[in-house]
Symmetry: C2
């Protein structure tokens, strides 16, 4: 067991250093070709071998089997999963708890790090699974579903490891002078897990968004029940299978991690979340369910990443073309289905100053629209950027949204993707005073160019949206450094991480492990941050045992 | 402002080192005579000068004045306090927030440390205030109300300071290799306070139990509203007055800290706790109100220290007399009104093995009773140990409890304390199967010697009490080191800090700052720990601002 820790100790030490420095650092390459020549083919073959069959997961199917995943690109996956009943899940998790709790911090971290390493070697398999369930294009499915998710997992392990090892391990001598005598006690500090951790995953980033909680729970000693979205099971089924294999090989009970598969007509998340044996709940998904959890789950920590309204404010720019290209890519990537995708683009109605001279509001709007057109002109690139639409409801939302403002750019299917559910960005123009639509979340490739009084009004509306509706990202374009500095404070107060003047190969949608704190917990877009100290420190408790020091 | 930080930086560095080592460390002497010759007299005079007058606190009295404190030792204090209305409190706190949030971590810590230093110099004044409101004997009022509380305050500052300064201050360079290019961003991390912190204090340890929250809120940038128990206002009125003076001198708005005085017939805690502008709630007190807060306060962190059942298990001892003396002191100290006082003493019905040979259960019970009698035989010492009873309801509870078992030792007033509300320990004997009384909290000097099947049954009952009803302390006496090691794990799982074989000048009631984690948060006695990382890390959030690095 300590052998696994030794194998990965160097990586963990680097990760701990990275969370302290918060510059760029990544443990796992995001470049597919760096994984060698055989892994891509093996991953593809492994994925295809899973199709149309019962998924080989060694869990009880006392509640039968379930699974009706249909690829947003067309075909049904035809995979079924064991459906383990709630009582059975709790019973098995509880039975596994003592052995896992008693394992040393190093043993648990060693297991977690080995799981992450094996997940990383399975990145191509998982990429295909993510692609064919979430609708992400393959390149994103690989990066976000694979190495970036592994970085986020490692980051959570690093935080938890640092936090646990901050508590003295082994005996501590407590020697209090008392007059001419000294009172001597020996103290030992027991790290006590909370209990069963429930991790409720989302349908768009099943691994990236759930790994931090999953691994934070695991290494702090809590058995984990992973509840995937019923439309996106496979990536987490593979994850749980690999984790169970590592646990077993390391001599632990495989039930330290279990998959809770349910069907849309018989959901289990609520029942599990309020179950007395469940001590920790993590959730990524809609604000509606997030609110239900926050209101109904009592007496245990609940960590949520919900939704909100991400904004862009355009005051001025030194590179109008690059700005439009950058925004166009942010709107188009995964057809706007990222929790970080901008929705509202606030522009002063008098227009903006740029390197190309003054641009009217209409010119700004059409500039962005034209950049989207240019980006998506080539069907192959359009498919690689947009991917497919995960949920049919999103297509309906786009349809309905078309009447919510003046259409700057209509949405359309991606050319050449017949059979797939696709949609390019819909861009609408509205006046800031028309608050019927833009101040609400419109999930999907739907954005608004909002005409504002001036930049002060724009920033005011953007930060108010974050404060009141939540915001996971925000962007600002300005040549005025005083304005930027002032705005930085306002966005910080609104709990919205701010990206300023992004052009080139970096986008507001992107959140880098070990550097960006994803979700601040400071506005309604979520009450937790991936990952900070507060995210891990509540997952275990410390109990002191003290006795007189041996004479 | 940084001047205050510089003044106290060495102390803070020592405190940060202490929380990492968790051996014995104390910043403030618990020995009254080490404070010199003049401070005791000055403190007494300052206290007497406050009696019978309006307390000089520069807060709005838009809701009139309140204050009906009556000393448990007899006299009414005759002090009134400004009663600031809820709207006014919130308005003032909100108005003070921006300036305080913008202050640097060092500036805020400097102010907090200066407040603590001045509180320490006011230890004698505060000791009289604590004595004459809580009923603690003077020696305890001095130590627990003064230097020990200041240690706990400093500990919270150290945790918060370490946590905040763990986030890089100043610009961080993020440089991501992207093919042959490098993407360069500059990131800055803003620490953002949560909002107004409400600190609801208890009637027994008004300073020791509230200072950690009060100072954790303050240094993380949150304005604080301190809500004292209406029977025990003075110690916190003095605290808030001193804090407001330091804030003002340092150039901040005094309303960064305010006192919310209420009257029993018009309580304000609930209204304040659910107020949308209040972002953090800390509470020490009854489980009943703690439950109300946990169930009704949504969407904001709530930190509670509630109550529970503290236990002793006696298996065997190498020093029967010293054990009985130690337990007797723990039962008698402040007449059992500490949140750490043992209530249930589990003893095998077959008796125990000791250095004096076998002792029957009755001999153990009468040994403890005799030790209480011996401890309290001298009236002066009895008064110095027991103090007075804070709440008249406790006396009634003792009366009623007399019928709950076989009386081993009756409670009685402390001799020579006429006019004061006093009571020595009531000790009852019951069988473990008679679960009418001992498995419930009986606050005050009421304890049960519970006859158990054997030591396994005793430990099982003790740990179950902690798991189900909560437990802040637990004690075990045994000569069997294997049994102790096994028990340590069981108590840890029950979230109950365990003290083993205490004799001499250290008692299970005592919880040392910088070493003992007070309340684990792992059983119903409270959801928070004074003080650990989780206690401070939720009181602020981090928001990143990133922009292209200057070329």
């Amino acid at each position: 067991m300590t052998k696994l820790f030794e194998t990965h100790a160097g990586l963990l030490a680097d990760a701990v250093k990275a969370i302290e420095e918060r510059g760029f650092w990544s443990a796992f390459s995001e470049v597919p070709r760096s994984y060698g020549e055989t892994l891509p083919e093996e991953g593809k073959a492994a994925f295809e071998a899973l199709l149309g069959k019962p998924f080989p997961l060694d869990q009880s199917e006392d509640d039968g089997r379930a699974g009706g995943e249909v690829s947003p690109f067309g075909p049904a996956l035809g995979i079924t999963y064991p459906r383990t009943g709630i009582d059975r899940l709790i019973e098995r998790a509880s039975a596994s708890a003592a052995g896992w709790a008693q394992a040393s911090v190093e043993a648990r971290c060693g297991v977690a790090l080995e799981i992450i390493a094996r997940l990383n070697r399975a990145s191509f398999l998982i990429a295909h699974a993510v692609e064919q369930t979430t609708g992400q294009a393959f390149a994103m499915a690989f990066q976000a579903g694979g190495p970036h998710a592994h970085d986020r997992a490692l980051e959570a392990v690093a935080y938890a490891y640092r936090e646990m090892t901050d508590i003295p391990q082994g005996d501590v001598a407590w020697e209090k002078p008392a007059g001419r005598k000294v009172i001597r006690l020996t103290k030992e500090f027991h790290l006590v897990p909370r209990g069963i951790g429930l991790v409720i995953a989302c349908a768009t980033f099943p691994t990236w968004n759930s790994y931090p909680a999953l691994f934070a729970d695991l290494v702090t000693g809590n058995p984990v029940i992973v509840k995937p979205h019923p439309a996106v099971i496979l990536p987490l089924a593979i994850t749980v299978k690999i984790a169970r294999e590592v646990l077993t090989e390391a001599g632990f009970d495989a039930d330290v991690i279990q998959l809770a598969v349910d069907a849309p007509e018989a959901p289990v998340a609520q029942t599990l979340a309020v179950h007395p044996a469940v001590a920790l709940v993590d959730f990524t998904g809609s604000s509606e369910f997030g609110r239900w959890l926050r209101e109904n789950v009592r007496g245990k920590p609940v960590f949520t990443e919900e939704t909100g309204i991400n904004t862009i404010v355009i005051d001025s720019t030194d590179d109008f073309a690059a700005m439009c290209q950058n925004i166009a890519f942010s709107l188009s990537l995964y057809s706007g289905q990222m929790c970080t995708t901008p929705q509202d683009i606030f522009v002063p109605r008098g227009g903006i100053e740029t390197n190309e001279g003054h641009k009217s509001l209409d010119e700004v709007a059409s500039g962005i629209a034209a950049a989207v057109d240019a980006l998506l002109a080539d069907p192959a690139r359009a498919a690689a950027v947009c991917g497919a639409i995960q949920n049919p409801a999103t297509l309906e939302r786009i349809d309905k949204a078309s009447s919510l403002g003046r259409i700057i750019r209509p949405s359309a299917p991606v050319a050449g993707q017949e059979g797939a559910r696709t949609a390019t960005p819909l861009i609408l123009a509205v006046d800031a005073t028309d608050e019927a639509a833009y101040p609400k979340e419109q999930f999907g490739p739907i954005s608004f160019v909002v005409s504002c009084e001036n930049v002060t009004d724009a920033i005011d509306r953007a930060t108010r949206a974050a404060r009141t509706k939540g915001g996971i990202t925000a962007a600002l374009y300005s040549r005025d450094s005083d304005l930027i500095d002032k705005a930085a404070g306002l966005y910080a107060q609104a709990g919205a991480p701010l990206s300023v003047n992004l052009t080139g190969g970096i986008y507001v949608n992107q959140s880098a492990a070990f550097s960006d704190f994803h979700v601040t917990g400071a506005n309604p877009a979520g009450n937790a941050c991936l990952t900070d100290t507060a995210y891990v420190a509540q997952r275990f408790r410390v109990v002191c045992v003290r006795r007189p020091a041996a004479a």
